[in-house]
């Protein structure tokens, strides 16, 4: 699986989920329509998106997605056509939500992320956990080996559904 796209660089740490999508938009019973509210809580968010209309990969600072558990943050990024977020670190819940929605949360060291901020376009090979910046430099990264399969098309809920007999057996023997 190859993911290739233009970069939206947000050189700041701690972009919380209230900035990614404010709570006033969490009023639906499905994941639809969240993309239009992406970064609505970020002071320069809407302007950033206007300036980078073709971007599909976010490159940003530490602790992206901190705060609320709202999966709407991942839905909003996916809904707007984003396929990956590259950062030195992610908040746990955001990272889990990203994987279940086939949005790649790619962790790389600070200096690599800083270098990628200046990149216009990135190509990502999910299977081999490799990406290329537009100067051709090859960078390796590591995905969660289990959750990677949820990105590659194996569904999260079907995976858990298949575990039900094992869970029932465990509970009965508890």
């Amino acid at each position: 699986m190859i993911v290739e796209g233009d970069v939206l660089a947000i050189p700041r740490a701690n972009i919380d989920t209230d900035q990614i999508i404010p709570a006033r938009y969490l009023t639906r019973i499905d994941a639809d329509g969240m993309g239009e509210h992406l970064f609505a809580g970020m002071t320069d968010g809407p302007e950033l998106l206007l300036r980078h209309p073709t971007a599909s990969i976010v490159v940003t600072g530490e602790n992206f997605g901190c705060g609320s558990s709202r999966e709407h943050a991942a839905w909003a990024l996916c809904g707007r056509g984003f396929a990956a977020v590259i950062a030195p670190s992610f908040a746990r819940i955001f990272s889990e939500n990203a994987y279940t929605n086939a949005l790649l949360p790619i962790v790389l060291p600070h200096h690599t992320v800083d270098m990628l901020m200046a990149t216009r376009r990135i190509r990502i090979d999910v299977e081999s956990e490799t990406l290329w910046a537009d100067d051709g430099e090859r960078i390796r990264f590591a995905l969660d080996p289990l959750r990677k399969q949820f990105v590659l098309g194996g569904g999260f809920l079907p995976y858990l559904h298949a575990k039900i007999p094992a869970v029932r057996a465990w509970e009965a023997a508890r």
């Binding site: 919380d16 080996p145 999260f156 809920l157």
Partner: protein
């Protein structure tokens, strides 16, 4: 191998080890509210024949927007309401509801040793009862409702030891903020915070909930406190609470990935000045000279500014952090016989808390002071329904997040304990209860 309290809970709930350090972890209880549950419930209905692992392990309620504010939130509530009815899931509708993290312990749904998850980051609150409780996304919650389990990476454990005793008017909220300021806003990421020490053991159950509630604000998976006689007394007094639980504790020689020690007697009342909860300082101090410029620009503050000189436009007492009866009593003690100088919203954490407050006459204290006394909901905390801030205005709040825009676009939030919020509401600026204790009360 000597184990921490968290290790014991984890080990007792692992159904299966999975690749990459993941595990299938059994959930004793799934808490479901109207904002994050509908999409998952619908996915199960559409794709998995509407079959839940065990409806008896789910408790549902309306908590964020109660009652519905518009057609969209009404549909969210109705979706959860009809789903709960269809599956005979225990459900707390408006009138009998509350913020899930207040209602769940108050109704006896959680006991020491349990695992609990909810599509809400502040589920860590329930670690106060010696449970492993954590927030997760909508799909993970759906997975727990479908298969009884979460997929989790095993977190490391950080021991947060608070020695001595809290003094100097410091509260559990001040301790919670001090812990975040000490380990850093993302310093807890990848960890569970296991709170120990004499200052922790001296906290009431409600105060422990306030402390654990904010574990997520350091990035931690959750916070946890070993059950003791305080826990036992709380559960014994809680109608419906389980009685057969066993108190687990860390082994005396338990090994921790990290340890932090905080002198409880040095904790002072604090207030946040920045845009994350770790950016806070003692209320009698100043905005730090090394404060990040970006935070100060958003907050319209300057380094060295005296915190008690900062005027506020609104005050809010409520949220899953500080809306329990003890919080309301603390606020009432400050407000009794005085008048608020700015619009002040006081929102109890549950309808049961509301009724208790009214039995004690606190609603009269609040309303005599000119505050708005509301029914229970998440209220202004997340800028979703009532009490939203106007751009550029400043609110002193007993809630948990001061992120940019959290309580409304361009709104600025200063986090503090309920008594500090009450004092600030009277003063019209950030201020401490000690300041107004010196002034005479005016006739109501």
């Amino acid at each position: 191998m000597s184990r921490s309290l968290f290790d014991k809970l984890w080990d007792a709930h692992v159904v299966e080890e999975l690749p990459g350090g993941n595990a299938l972890v059994f959930m004793d209880l799934v808490v479901a509210h109207e904002i994050t549950t509908p999409a998952g419930a619908i996915a199960i209905a559409n794709d998995f024949e509407d079959r839940l692992y065990d409806p008896a392990r789910i408790v549902a309620m309306i908590d964020h927007v109660a009652p519905a504010k518009d057609s969209a939130t009404a549909l969210q509530a109705q979706t959860v309401r009809s789903w709960a009815k269809r599956h005979a899931i225990t459900f707390h509708d408006i009138g009998d509801n509350g913020i899930c993290h207040v209602l769940v312990p108050e109704r006896g749904y959680v006991a020491p040793g349990m695992t609990v998850c909810c599509g809400d980051s502040h589920t860590c609150t329930l670690g106060a009862l010696g449970a492993f409780a954590l927030g997760i996304g909508t799909t993970a919650q759906a997975g727990a409702m479908l298969a009884g389990c979460l997929i989790l990476q095993r977190p490391k454990v950080m021991r947060v030891e608070v020695t001595g005793a809290l003094g100097n008017d410091a509260t559990a909220k001040d301790l919670a903020l001090t812990v975040i300021a000490t380990i850093g806003f993302r310093g807890g990421t990848g960890y569970v915070l296991e709170y120990t020490g004499s200052a922790i053991r001296a906290l009431s159950m409600e105060q422990r909930m306030t402390l654990c509630n904010m574990a997520i604000e350091s990035g931690a998976t959750t916070g946890i406190i070993a059950a003791d006689e305080t826990t036992a007394a709380y559960l014994a007094a809680t109608r419906g609470a389980p009685s057969g639980w066993q108190a687990e504790a860390a082994d005396p020689d338990a090994v921790y990935a990290a340890t932090v020690t905080i002198d409880g007697s040095a904790v002072r009342p604090v207030v946040s000045w920045g845009t994350n909860p770790g950016e806070c300082s003692p209320i009698d101090g100043v905005v730090p000279f090394d404060a990040p410029e970006e935070s100060l620009t958003y907050m319209d503050l300057r380094p060295g500014q005296v915190l008690t000189s900062i005027a506020v436009d609104q005050a809010f007492i409520g949220s899953c952090t500080n809306s329990r009866i003890g919080d309301l009593r603390a606020a009432a003690d400050v407000l009794r016989g005085r008048r608020v100088a700015v619009p002040t919203i006081i929102t109890p954490g549950s309808q049961a808390v509301r009724r208790q407050a009214e039995r004690e006459g606190l609603h009269d204290v609040f309303q005599d002071a000119g505050a708005l006394w509301t029914h229970s909901s998440c209220g202004p905390c997340l800028g979703m329904s009532m009490g939203v801030l106007a751009p550029g205005t400043r609110c002193v709040s007993s809630s948990n997040r001061n992120f940019p825009g959290r309580m409304g676009d361009g709104g600025r939030v200063h986090l503090a304990a309920p008594a500090v919020v009450a004092a600030s509401a009277i003063l019209g600026r950030l201020g401490s209860p000690a300041e107004i204790a010196e002034s005479a009360a005016v006739p109501a």
